[in-house]
């Protein structure tokens, strides 16, 4: 009986040491029994992610996941470009108009007979 108890104690200590080694070494190390012991000892073994079980159509996703991002991104960039360079063009056009008018008024003022 005493020999049996000692043998049992040694095997438990050995298994615990092996399990600790398997947990720290990572997935794939040690036997399935050791992994089961580690789980039973309260530590989760590291498992590979499960393969995809089904295909989900895009219209069953939440709304924010259904939208493609590229058109929104391109629209944002295009708006910024158009706004900035459109404004630059409008300033150039308005400045040209005012400077033309200024030169015409200047010529009129010079040509006007002085009273």
């Amino acid at each position: 009986m005493k020999v049996l108890a000692c043998l049992l104690l040694v095997s438990v200590i050995g298994a615990a040491a092996h399990a600790a080694q398997a947990v720290t070494a990572g997935p794939g190390s040690g036997s399935s029994a050791e992994r089961a012991f580690a789980y039973a000892a309260g530590r989760q073994p590291q498992l590979a992610p499960a393969g995809q079980e089904e295909f989900v159509p895009i219209d069953e996703l939440p709304p924010e996941d259904q939208l493609p991002a590229a058109p929104l991104l391109v629209t944002g960039y295009a708006f910024a470009w158009l706004a900035i360079f459109g404004y630059l063009w409008s300033i150039w056009r308005r400045l040209g108009h005012v400077e033309r008018e200024l030169s015409e008024v200047g010529r009129f003022a010079e040509d006007r007979p002085r009273t």
């Binding site: 939440p62 991002a69 929104l72 991104l73 944002g76 960039y77 900035i84 404004y87 005012v98 009129f108």
Partner: protein, 219 residues
Amino acid sequence: MLKRLFAPCLVLGVVLFAGAPFVIASARYESTMGLIQKIFYFHVPSWFAMFLGVFICGVASAVYLFRRTSASDRLAAAAAELTVLFGAIGLVTGPLWGRKAWGVWWQWDARLTTALVLWMIFVAYLLLRRYGGPGSDRLAAGIGLFGMANAPFVYWSVNIWRTVHPKTSVVPTLPPDMGGALWWCVAAFLMLFGALLAARVRLEEQRVTLDRVYLELDG
């Protein structure tokens, strides 16, 4: 001084803008938002430029109110237009990003609402300058000053109240590749802001000269 800044700011701004897509493409994707997060590299710089316009308009308006210098009035009017322009870019790119990231175009949270109100204050400034008649320049200067006083509330709103908008702690904690792309785009936007401001002030100066010439002719 502004006249001399126009050409270098424009050239540098266009070069930086042209290089921006490559710099943005080299930045890593954000883990939760993916491709749509890249709007960030135009959205944030546009608000940088808008806030610069707000402060220039506010300070120039204060100088005009207390000293009545016409140069500061012209600068304030030019800065207000640019504030509206860059604010519009921010208000368009934000919802495009939000539609994908949050699932909605708009939320009436503190940041978005205060930013919209700030933009509308400067739209009101421009409407007043355009249609206000005599004396509207001083009234508009008061509005410009009020707008500048609102800007800190817009900036700090995300830290004070619970909002759906990201907090101000995002930018200082960016990794180098994302931070580099952001500051590249900020530089591009600010260079273009400088060029547009110089051009707009020149336009205002020429209009004032034209008015003076007409007054002299009538006199």
